[in-house]
Every structure is written in structure tokens, then in C-alpha cells.
Symmetry: D3
Amino acid sequence: MLQKLLITGANGSLGSLCRQRLGHMAKTIRLNARRGLGVAGPDEEIVYCDLSDKSAVEAMVEGCDGIVHMGGQAVEGPWKIVKAANIDGMFNLYEGARKSSVQPRIFFASSHHTTGFHAQTTRLDPSKNPTRPDGLYGVSKVFGEALARMYYDKFGIETACVRIGSCFPEPPSHRMLSSWLSADDMICLIERIFSVPQLGCPVLYGVSDNDAAWWDNSSAAYLGWRPKDNSERFRSKLDAERTPPMRNEPDAMYQGGLFCTDGIHEE
Amino acid sequence: MLQKLLITGANGSLGSLCRQRLGHMAKTIRLNARRGLGVAGPDEEIVYCDLSDKSAVEAMVEGCDGIVHMGGQAVEGPWKIVKAANIDGMFNLYEGARKSSVQPRIFFASSHHTTGFHAQTTRLDPSKNPTRPDGLYGVSKVFGEALARMYYDKFGIETACVRIGSCFPEPPSHRMLSSWLSADDMICLIERIFSVPQLGCPVLYGVSDNDAAWWDNSSAAYLGWRPKDNSERFRSKLDAERTPPMRNEPDAMYQGGLFCTDGIHEE
Amino acid sequence: MLQKLLITGANGSLGSLCRQRLGHMAKTIRLNARRGLGVAGPDEEIVYCDLSDKSAVEAMVEGCDGIVHMGGQAVEGPWKIVKAANIDGMFNLYEGARKSSVQPRIFFASSHHTTGFHAQTTRLDPSKNPTRPDGLYGVSKVFGEALARMYYDKFGIETACVRIGSCFPEPPSHRMLSSWLSADDMICLIERIFSVPQLGCPVLYGVSDNDAAWWDNSSAAYLGWRPKDNSERFRSKLDAERTPPMRNEPDAMYQGGLFCTDGIHEE
Amino acid sequence: MLQKLLITGANGSLGSLCRQRLGHMAKTIRLNARRGLGVAGPDEEIVYCDLSDKSAVEAMVEGCDGIVHMGGQAVEGPWKIVKAANIDGMFNLYEGARKSSVQPRIFFASSHHTTGFHAQTTRLDPSKNPTRPDGLYGVSKVFGEALARMYYDKFGIETACVRIGSCFPEPPSHRMLSSWLSADDMICLIERIFSVPQLGCPVLYGVSDNDAAWWDNSSAAYLGWRPKDNSERFRSKLDAERTPPMRNEPDAMYQGGLFCTDGIHEE
Amino acid sequence: MLQKLLITGANGSLGSLCRQRLGHMAKTIRLNARRGLGVAGPDEEIVYCDLSDKSAVEAMVEGCDGIVHMGGQAVEGPWKIVKAANIDGMFNLYEGARKSSVQPRIFFASSHHTTGFHAQTTRLDPSKNPTRPDGLYGVSKVFGEALARMYYDKFGIETACVRIGSCFPEPPSHRMLSSWLSADDMICLIERIFSVPQLGCPVLYGVSDNDAAWWDNSSAAYLGWRPKDNSERFRSKLDAERTPPMRNEPDAMYQGGLFCTDGIHEE
Amino acid sequence: MLQKLLITGANGSLGSLCRQRLGHMAKTIRLNARRGLGVAGPDEEIVYCDLSDKSAVEAMVEGCDGIVHMGGQAVEGPWKIVKAANIDGMFNLYEGARKSSVQPRIFFASSHHTTGFHAQTTRLDPSKNPTRPDGLYGVSKVFGEALARMYYDKFGIETACVRIGSCFPEPPSHRMLSSWLSADDMICLIERIFSVPQLGCPVLYGVSDNDAAWWDNSSAAYLGWRPKDNSERFRSKLDAERTPPMRNEPDAMYQGGLFCTDGIHEE
């Protein structure tokens, strides 16, 4: 059991899920967002700060032996926003971890948009690092994975870089039948990451046991995580509600879907 | 749902199975054989022609948006027969597809005899194209796969090249405990091939989820096909009925079994 | 069904398990140890001898068409003991097999200590022979695998080199949640090895279907062995009873665990 | 030294080169074409026949212990012509080899158009059989390689499948700076293929030691062939004479160049 | 020949080398640095600006059809400096390229410090992207490579990401006998990158033909670049002048040498 | 420069070559054999002992910072002889190294007979450990490599396992045109092994730059060893003097040649 688990981005969809369901993992849960975290529950601490505020982030990280880093910009956006949240934010978080009196283990919410330009007909092994980001957001996550690896090689800080697929109650598009991650599977993965004696610095995809898989996580099998859910049960409903994309539409061609056709966002 | 699905070889064992069970996939099912297709059912069309008759095949293909190509010579035979059915037949079919007013997607019944000379102790990944055909029949299927790939690269016609294992109600020999494909699994595979938005031109094995597997289809996992049947339930019955081959018999050595010992058939 | 199955090391934990549960596989079971085999049951023969006694071993092997070689030194020990049991013992056994009037098929109990210096975060494919032994015992098993392969290439004697994980009723440590092999799965594996028509000379790991897997046996899938047990059901009990190792302890770092820190045993 | 070396296509550019320069390799050189071979020299025999004439080809092959098979259709063409020359022609040649009183070793002039749809930025290892033919001609050569492999596995006939690049005195286009094969290097390759004690059935590219290489022949290094020429010395001349293709032109994109844009030839 | 070639970092050691020796490649050479470029030569233009100044960089890039991007921070430094030069600077450069009326081809001076934590006994293939950066500088270059790839996949801008080894007149340490890049080889590489019709977006190492190589550039062989120099000729001199590092010193262990032991630079 | 270099097997052909040509590498050369070393030269010490004499070997190893281990049984032989020399001898040597007051670096003369059963048409990468020994001698060398690796992983003793090809003044058979190692190339290799700051525990083949190569040493390129000699210059002489083997003779089929057909030597 951890002493203090920091959850960043705790007011986002993934972060609030973690807040609800990871309470058993630590004596204290420290929650971070810029706003909107409501009232602290028992064993909860709330820290409001912006990830780009270096001294605030370092203070927040101090004393935590676990971090679930869900914070940051989670979709494509203007460069300044992506950079502040995902470039500076990551640097600040890892500097906090390096300087902390307690070395934390970190779950880093990377993204499948690090590899979004691969064709949907391609099977990817994340241990071989096949990055082809599909926008500035994806590039910022490649940066984050590289930074995490460097802090592991140089300072011994362990991180699981989890390229999150699509974590929604139900897959909202046909593409996401392949990338869907159920809430239960995500929570189990986080539990495993903080339970294994030796984590190292693996890269894996956060994806359920979907029939229509693109990704091969076998290199991280030592984590002992076996996802249980399968998006296939949503297929007929989705077929009834939405027309699937045509074969030459980006949402049927690229693993990153429409992110691949997005331009650079002007500020 | 397809407009018009052509099933060639519709009087053969696999073709008649498709006729029975693929009716829901298209408004019209066009059935082809040289003879013996009986009375057309509702939504069925019957086209008798020889696959080596170029103009007849082109006319038959016109207007179909899906083709399940089960036709052709399905075992070793004299060169003239193999060539007419599987070399000329394939060329004619793909010329029909290229010239058609509607570009079809194609299921091509290739064969595990494209790789029949591999040892049974070898695991094969079909995406790596490990061809070692075990006779003229197998060579003709290598030709077919190459032709399909060329029509995809050059004209965008999508084909799934499915190296059919052994599709029988029960595996008739010990070797086929490894290569067995159940009817249900085959039908599901065809459904998936015509459902995915983007197919590309994958090569995979048509084989059930047998304990004694030789083949690794993970490169085509994006199809979302997970076979459900397992030949293992037939093993004890088979053991009771048949003596398994000795270790130095070809049926125990090669994935293609006795095809490997067959000579060239004189005409 | 075999005529005569020799089980060496029949008084050890694995050997006695085989004695109890492999009776159906052969008309006669020949049991070997240096002592302590009790009374021979029906269809049992008892042969006491030391594996380093060449003529005794050759006599014992004569006439057997199957051998389950569980005998030898099964943990680290002084060089003389390891050498006598696992170097000389293997040579004597294979010389017996070569000279026998009946060519036997052999199950060789190799060990995961052939690869014990690999990190627990590394996934291993045994067909690629990634040996990194963790002591003299592990080195002696690399020798055994090489000897078996040579007798296969040169004399056609088939052996399955099974790198046994940790075969206990329950995994006694957190590390063994990854390496655990249930008795049932082991027995099934032996049955398959003596049932397949063609065995060849595969190397695989003897490990159950544990969530926290390190090893990928897919290269030996043709054996048709699918382990059914999973150590995960013991995890909570183990967590309650034992403190897991810290991340920098050898039992959390190396696949071979504490074997990696053992010195050379003085004689 | 061979007894009788058959050179097919002996009136073509490669075949006539062989006629001029391979005389030392056999006591008798048997030359084949449909016409135009002039007067037989000393130790030369001339056999006129069409490769699609089965009995003529079988008679021609009888008694030859070496075959350099340069004959057939060497560019894209109508299906009937490609089929007669490269499909039927190959079958007839190998049937001749199988029936011959002397088993020949064969040099088969395959083509880099078997892999012409690969990008010029891709490095290919021919032992991994990365076929992506760029037309009917290329497909016919895939057929030929598969046929050769089958006759090797089944009948022991050894063939080197040499995917000829571009064999001209000088590379006539910028693309061919990568695929160029000098006459000297080709002759040396043929000499090596008929000299090694054991040939097997390798696939390799016939290409000189060009700076701008696409292909990795290291899997066939055992042949002991090291090409000596390098197209780079023609680059400046070529730059002066021809505008290189733009980056989006097929001749700059695909290894097969303009073959990739050619349609199906009507007959 | 290019119309206008931009050389950034033109006052640095590599940039000034380019200034001296790449004049023949373009009608106009546009030189960039923050200061110190002296007097413009014939066909030279001088643009002073900081790479972090977005509008200035975009204006500078406008109209250039080639860019040799040597600018930025070339060693480890405080985060603010690395970020401004190598994160913001890269973004600004590629935004300029995207918006330019002429799409440029880009040489990006990446660094072997993207893979500096690999052992010196490990051979690396850059096409497999084995990043293990050895500091913030290395991480910033991983970012740059990912950004370049994204602009290629999304906007078609071609870049060669060249992981520069150690470009000095002579290797100043024993480690650099492996990583040394001669000036001549670097210039030839740049010439090739701007000469091939199709560049794509390769990653390769900028390293001479040193005996003590760590890196395998064969995946980029299509560029036709064959380095000619070999650091071995400096070995005896170096041995005389400097004590080589001991085997457990970082300069003997890691490809990145002492960069691996550097801490995070305080600002 | 080394303090004391031990050369075992110093009266054998390779060992005496080392005695002649490695004098510059150490202040003192300690020579070992069972007999026949003549008079010690300046800076030479002679130690007569049998490698199977543990205490004598340990005393001999004490104080040496380099070992060239050429000693042991170098061809197939009876088990007792192979075991005493290559199994016990290796153990004794490494125990000496472990106990020594100075940790030595070791050159271990392994053999290409560790992989002798591979076909001559197969290309081998020694870093992938593709062992298929061709006799007891080859098995004993697999043991030696495994032992060396264990002493590296456990005790940090560095060894280069060099699978010697065929080191003769001229290749005495056609097979050895592939496996030939010149004396010059061998000496250079030993010099490099003792010069690199960090050696690790590489496995490589000791083979010259022969045209007809089987082996790919690129994984050990960091050693900076580039063999200069090429057996090709002996081919015509060899062709004149010896009939090459027929394709189905073992000397033309297996990399280990006639070793593959040798039986087990009776004692």
C-alpha cells in the first residue's frame, strides 16, 4: 500500500474515475487539477495548481510515492497550450520526482496518438517504439515517453508509459472498437503497475481485450495485467446507430483516425 | 450490407456452405459453378460458366461488390486443369473486377498448401509470406496471392487471401487436428472480411482455435476475427478410429501432409 | 501407448508425481533413483543406480521407448555433484539411448535457471535460445540441452527440453507467481510430448497459464499443450503471508531470483 | 566443369552475353531461342523451339547438367504472351529437368519486378520473400520462384532464383543507379552458382555493388559472390544527360519504376 | 540545384563548415545565427534571429527549398535554453516550412545523444528507433525527430534526421573513435540528402566508416552515401596522448559517454 | 599494456602462434601446456600443468590480468578426454579467475563446431546463439560459452567467446574457404579484445574476410576488428589440387563438415 498517491488531472474523465476507484491503494490521495475538485473526502488532499508552474508542481510532488499522471492537454490544441501542459508540465513533474524526499513510481497517461499515423491494418508492438505521432499532441506524448525513459536511466525513477486508447463507457465510433479501454481494465492496470516489485520503464497500450485489436502488449506481460472487457458487445448497437466510415476515410485508414487530418491549431 | 455477392464454386463443399449461410450479407447472391446448382432461391442468381472462359467470367463479375472465390481446382491435379482453373481463372476474375462498374472486395480461398513443405514443428506467420508450396496446386495458389496483391497495389482492389486449412465437419486425420477449420469459424471470418471498413490485402490462415496450432494469425487481428472452435474435442474419437502416422511418415512431418509426396500428375 | 517408460529421479517431487500419474502411458513403468522407491507396483520395475554409473545407466535405458528424465541435481550445488549428476548423467543417459535396441523419445527436465540472469521485465522466446544461466546448475542444463540437440541432429533421438519453472502445490514466493507450473499442467505436457507423431527437439518452458508470464511458448504450439492453471488465484494469500521483495532485491530483478546471488559452492 | 550447359533466350541481351562469356563452363553449350542464333560455334548446339512447346522443351533439357534460363518474356506484355512464356515455359522447363536422365542445376532469371511496388526507401532482404509484383510480368516471376522452390523441396532440383535488376552497359535512368547490374558481375554470379558444391534454392538480387543500393543479399553470402562494379561512376554523366524524376513521380517512388503505372496490356 | 538553401546555426562549427563547402548546392545560401556571421559573400544572405522567435523564423524560412538545420542548443543545458532552442525552435522552423510558398527539404541535425544510454557493446539500427536519450538535450532531439515525422506524414515535408556522432577534425577521446564523423563525410551526406529524388523521412547516424562502429545505417542505403573516412588512423596518436577510460567509467560504458552522468542543469 | 598474459595450449598451433606474436601485449607472458614448451624466452614464464588439475590451474591463473585460452581438446575425442580438458578445464580456469587477486579478461577459443549442424546455406548471427553442436567437442564448447557468460553475469569477468573457424596457413578443403581464419586476422582480433575499454561477453566467429562467408559478426563491430585476409586467393590452387565435395556429401552440406558424421568415440 502506498503512503501518498498523487492523481493529476483529477477533474477530467480518467482522473475522476481514478479518484473514485483508487482510494484503497494509498493512505492519502492527493488530487490535483486547476479547479473543480469539490470537497476533499476522508484521506484526500486537494492541490490546485497549473502543471506549468514549476515550483508549485515540485511542492505538490514532494512526499508522494505514487503518481497517476492523467493531467495535461488530452487532445490536439494550439502549440502554447500543448507545450505548457505536456512539455513543461512533464518536465516539472519529473523534476519534482527527482527532488522529492521519496522516489515515486509513475503511471504516465501517454496516448495511442503517438502512433496514430500507422495504418489500421498494421499490428504494433509498443516495446519496439514505432512512433508516428498524428499531431502536436501526439508529438508531446513522444516527448513525455522519452523524458520518462531518461529519468529512469539516469535517476532510477520507474514509469509505465501507457498509451491510452479510447476510454469511454462505450466506444463512440467504429474505429474505437479497436482502441476501446474499459474503466475496469484501466483501474486493474493501474493496480498492477503499483503492485509489481520491479516495474522498469515499459511502454504499453491501454486497451481492453477487443476482438478487433491493433496492439500487442505481450512485451509487458510480466505486469500480470489481463484485460477482461471486449468492445465487441457494442458492435451491433454501434452499427445500428452510426454509419461506419468508408474505406478511404481517415477514420478507417489510420489508427489515430481524424487526428491525422487535423491541421495545426492557430493560437 | 452488400448489393450483390458472387460465390464461385458454389456447388463445392465450401461454396454450398456459403450459399446456405451467407444469404444475409447481400441483397442478391450470385452463384457460380459449371453445373449442379439446382433451383435458384429467392434473391439468388445462378450463373453457369467455366472460370477459364474470360468473357463469361467478366460478365459474371460485373456489378458485384463482393466476391467469395471458392471456385477453381481444390486439390492437386494435372497441370492443364490446375492452370485453367487457378491461373487463368484467377486472371479472368481479377480482370472482371478491374473492369467492373463496381469495385468488389474479394475473399480468395487460398490454401495452406502454399506452405505445405514446412515442418509441422515450425510456426508460421503468414504476413511474412513463408511460401513453400507442396505441388502444382500450391504453386497456383502462390500465383493467386501474388496476383491479388498486384491488383491491390495497382488498382486498389482489396482481397483477403485466406489459406484455408482443412474444412470438414470433423478432422479426418491426425494432421488435420492442427489445420482444421470449422464451418462456423469460416462463416464468421467471411462476415468479418466484408465488414471491416478497410481491408487492405492481408494473408492469413483459415484455421480454428485448435490446441495443436501451427499458424499465427496475429498480424490480421485487426479483422476482429476470433475463431471459437477447437479440434481437440475430436482427438479421442480420432485416436480410437485411426492409427496416427509414424514420426517419419510425411503426414507427420510436413504441414501439407501427403500432398508433399504426390508426384506431378500426368494429363 | 508406450511399451516401457523410464522415469528417472522417481523419488523426487516431480518424479514421484510422474510415478503416480503417468501409469496409463506405458505397459511398464521403469522407475529409477538411487534409493527410496518403496515397493514396485503392478507394471512397475525399480532400478536403483547412480546416473554417473555409465554401464548401469546404459543397462537401465535399454529397451525403453520413452524416458522422463527428472533425475539429476535439481538445485545449485558443488561442482562435483552437479557434474556427476547433470553432465556425466546426461551423457550416460544419451549413450544408453543411442545404443538401445529401441530408440526412445525423451522428456528432459531442463530448468528456467538456464535463463535466470534475464530481467523479470524481459519476455523470452525459448526457440531463440536466450541462455544466461544463473549458476553451475543452470550451466549444466545448458550443457544438457546442447547434448540433446546434438543427439537429435546426429542420431535422430527426439527430446523435448522443458525448462521447468517452479512446480509446487502453491507458489511459495512472489517471483514464482510468474514461474509456477501446476502438477496438472506438467502431466498434460508430458502426455502431449509422448503423443505427437513428430516431436523434433523443441525447447520450451514448463509454466502454467499465469497472468504474470515471462515466457512465450508459441514456437512449440504444435505440441497442442495449453496449460489450464493460473497462479493468480494464490496472489492474495501470498500477499497476506509474505512481504513481496523490494524492487532492488534480486528476487524482484532476475528471473532466476536468488540463484543469481548464490556463489560457487565449495566442495 | 559441366558436361552440357543449356542457355535459353540465347538471342536476347543477357542470353547472348552468356553465350559469349560462359563457354569455359561446359564441354558443350546448348543454345535455345525461337530464332536468330546464327551459326553454331565449336562446342555449341543450337535448339530452336518455343518454351511453351512441352515436348520440345523436355527434349531440349534432356542431358543438360546446367541451365541458365534467360528465356521467356522479359517485360510486361499481354497475358497470353506472359503466360505462354513464363508460366507454361517454366513448367515445361522444370518437367524437362525432372524427367531428364541427368539432374540439372538451374539459374533462373527472375526479376526485381517481383518486388516492384516497394518504396525506393525500403531495404529488402530477398530471403524473406517480400513479394509485391508490379504487373503480370512480375506475377509470372513470383510463380516461377514458387515453382522452382517446389521442385527443389519435392525433387531436389537446385535453382538460384536471381532477381535481375537492370543489366545494361550503363544505367539508362536515375532509378537504375540503384538496380544496375554490370555484365561482369552477372557472369561472375553465374560462375559461382555453378561452382558451389551445395546450392539449395536461394533467392537473391542480381545487382552490382552500387552506392545507392536497395537490396541486401547477405543471406546468400555463402555463394561467395561479391559484385565489383558500382553504378556511381555513371551518375554525373546521367545527371548531365537526363533530368532526374521528381519525388512524386513513380520512377522516384517505386523500386519497379514505371512498371507500377503500366496497365494490363490488351491482347 | 536548389534555389535557396538555408543554413541555421551558421556560426557554429558544423554550420560554418556547411557555409564553406555547400555553396555549390544552391543559387543563394541564406545563413542564420544570432550573431557573428561576418560579411555576406556573393550569393549569400544573412539573417540574424533567434530560433525561438516564431515570426522571424517563419519569415526566414519563406522561399527556401532546402534547409540544413544545424542551429539550436548542441550540448546539455538548462531546460529553458534547451526548450527555447530545440523545442520551440523546431516548431517554429517546421511551421515556417509548412506555411512557405515553396516546400523545403530538410536536413535535421539530430544527435546520437537520443540513444546515449545504450551500452557501447550494443549495435543499433536507427530505423528501429531505439531511443534512450541521455539528458534533456537528447530528449529535445527525440522531440525533434517526432515532430519531423509528423510533418512528413501530415504535410509531406521530407526530412533526414541525422543523428550526428562526433564531428571534429580528430576524435578527442577514445569513445569518439566509434562516433567520429569527418567533415568530408558529413558534406557528402548532405549532398546526397538533397540529391535523391525521393527522400522520405529516414533516421540515420552521421558517422564515418570507423572500424569501431556501433551503428548500422543499412536501412538508409538508398541514399547512396558511403562514408570514406575511418577514425582508426587516429588511434595510436590518441593512445599516446590520452589514457583510455577504465571499463567501469561511463565514457567506456555508454554510447553517450559522460552525457549519461551529467545532472539536470539548474538555470 | 597487460601485466601478465597467460596463454594456455601454448604448444599447439594457435598457442604457439600467440607465443610468437603477442609478446608486445604484456610485460610477462606466462605459457602453459602439459609439455613441450622449450626454453623460456625473456619475459616468458613456463607453467606445465594439466587443465584438469584444479589447484595447479588456480595457481597458474593467479595474478594474470589477461588470458588467451587456447588450451583443451581441439577436436572430437572420447568423452573422458573432452570432459577433462574442456569441461573440467574451463571450470578450473574460471575458478582461478574468480579467486585471483587480479580479475583477468579472457579470450576463450570456442569453435564453429558449436553450430556445425547448420546448413552451409544458412547465415548465422552469433549474438543470437544459434547453437547446434556437431559432436561432444562442440557440446563442450557450448558448455564453455555458457560458463563464461555466467561468470560474467555473476562475477563480472569479461570474456570474448571466439568461435574459431579454420586457422591454417591455407584452407585445406573447399569447406574451409568459408571458415578460414588467417593468422594475421587472429592476432589482430586478440589485440582488439584486450584493447577495448569495455568488452562485455560477446560471442563472435573467428573468421577472415572470406568471399564465401557464412557468419555475420556485425553484432561485435564495436570491437573495431576488421579482418583483412580473404581465402578466395587460394581457390584456384585448391580447385587444382582437390576435388570439391559433391553436393550431398556432409562436407558440402554442413558448416561443421565431417564432424557431423563422426560417431561417439569409444574410450
